[in-house]
């Protein structure tokens, strides 16, 4: 194996001229292989740090809530907490369902059919956060203002929601969000 003379610099090694071509490709291969494994290792090492910032197991455990619907009488609304936000559950009356379905799509800033917003027509489940700037609309309590459309009214900037939770009047751009939920039985739902 040829020795290059010990020069003042000593030579930078892998990219040095001199030495047979075969030697140089072997040199480069080792450098590339090591770099590749090293970079891969660093990336794998960084993942736990990044993932540690994702929701922890105890947070995820609270990411779904079960609600017993049996105590909620027709015409009544309850508010439950889910993922730190209020969820409105309303046991709708026949009139409220009819009012929700008897609407011309043209009258809605965010057109959506009521049938697409409920699984069972008498149970309306909404995230109770105004889509404008995040206030909690009034309308859950019997004494609350419900706005012009019998649903909810946001006191912050005057958004009116109807009996399907759709925005009808006011600055809010979208209907109240419907969270994902499933019926565990006829009288219990799991939200999230």
């Amino acid at each position: 194996m040829a020795h290059s003379a010990t020069t003042a610099h000593g030579g930078p090694g892998p990219t040095a001229h001199g030495g047979p071509g075969e030697d140089r490709t072997r040199r480069d291969f080792l450098l590339y292989a090591t770099s590749a494994v090293g970079v891969a290792g660093t990336a794998l090492a960084l993942w736990p740090f990044i993932d540690s910032m994702n929701p922890a197991a105890d947070v995820l455990a609270l990411s779904s809530s079960e609600v017993d619907l049996a105590p909620i009488a027709e015409g009544q609304s309850v508010t439950v907490t889910w993922r730190g936000k209020p969820v409105f559950i309303r046991h709708r009356t026949a009139e409220e369902i009819k009012a929700a379905r008897d609407v011309n799509p043209g009258e809605m800033p965010d057109p959506q059919k009521d049938e697409d917003r409920v699984q069972k027509p008498e149970w309306l489940v909404l995230v109770g956060v105004c889509t404008h700037l995040g206030c909690i609309p009034l309308g859950q309590k019997p004494t609350d203002m419900k706005g012009q459309f019998g649903g909810w009214f946001c006191p912050c900037h005057g958004s009116h929601y109807d009996t399907s939770g759709r925005i009808r009047l006011g600055p809010a751009p979208a209907n109240l969000a419907v969270p994902s939920y499933t019926f565990q039985s006829d009288t219990t739902i799991r939200i999230g």
Binding site: G13, P14, T34, G41, A61
Partner: protein, 258 residues
């Protein structure tokens, strides 16, 4: 290459031999501990799933009457092999205080999967009153909170003698156990043949019961162990490869200096 192998092997040997040393005992220990073979020791060790389930049964039926397990949540039992409904059922028989409700009152409700294990006593003082002044320690970390934890707990549970030696005067309410520091322990012997009827039909000898409950308790203290060992094996193998590559590259780069 030879020097590299020697250096890695000596680094590894250093690590292994140092960690195989008995931990520096700073206190005078109790009786000599008979070391057991635990399924989770060694480079590829992991928990015996069946033993975990049996051990949980022992904890739940026997130990939980006095010892809390506050750091474990019912949802963690999924790692032992319980299904969602089974966990709900296990949690659902326990009551805990919650509130205040809209009337401003505290109320009791049944435990959910997301709750931590409900302790048998409201607080330490109540626990002492119920146990003759002694406080049954929480068991969530017991195998890490004692020197040679798993062996200590195993030997302790089986270490009771019917009659203490002649030179020992038992204080009232205490039992003789040479493994416990001071030899007198407030907990009466708990492990008997047939203490539980195992759901999987295993014969419930004292040794079996104790082995299973210690396995469960070690899981309670170190639930991450299976993942830790798995990741450890992969990481160390990866590092051996990477370090070998570094060494080869080093030799190559230095070849014009040496």
């Amino acid at each position: 290459m030879r020097r590299f192998v020697v250096s890695v092997l000596s680094a590894a040997a250093f690590a292994v031999s140092v960690s195989a040393l008995p931990p520096a005992a700073s206190a005078s220990e109790g009786a000599h501990l008979e070391k057991q073979k635990w399924s989770w020791s060694g480079l590829f060790g992991s928990y015996d799933q069946a033993a975990l389930k049996r051990g949980f049964q022992v904890y739940n039926e026997v130990c939980a009457n006095c010892h809390s397990l506050k750091l474990v949540a019912y949802r963690n039992l999924a790692e032992i092999g319980f299904g969602e409904d089974e966990i709900k059922a296990i949690a659902g028989v326990k009551e805990l205080e919650d509130g205040p409700n809209d009337q401003g009152e505290m109320f009791t409700r049944f435990a959910k999967a997301s709750d931590h294990f409900v302790p048998p006593f409201k607080n330490d003082q109540a626990a002492r009153v119920a146990n003759g002044g002694a406080l049954p320690p929480d068991l969530s970390l017991i195998t890490k909170a004692r020197l040679n934890g798993p062996d200590y707990v195993y030997n302790l549970l089986l270490g009771y003698k019917d009659t203490p030696p002649a030179d020992v005067t038992l204080m009232p309410g205490m039992s003789y156990n040479a493994v416990f520091p001071g030899s007198q322990i407030g907990m009466p012997p708990q492990i008997f043949d047939g203490l539980v009827t195992y759901a999987d039909g295993t014969k419930a000898t004292p040794e079996q019961i104790t082995k299973d409950v210690v396995t469960f308790l070690n899981w309670a203290a170190e639930p991450e162990l299976n993942a830790r060992h798995g990741m450890g094996a992969k990481t160390l193998i990866f590092l051996l490869v990477l370090t070998a590559l570094f060494y080869a590259l080093k030799r190559q780069i230095w070849s014009d200096v040496h």
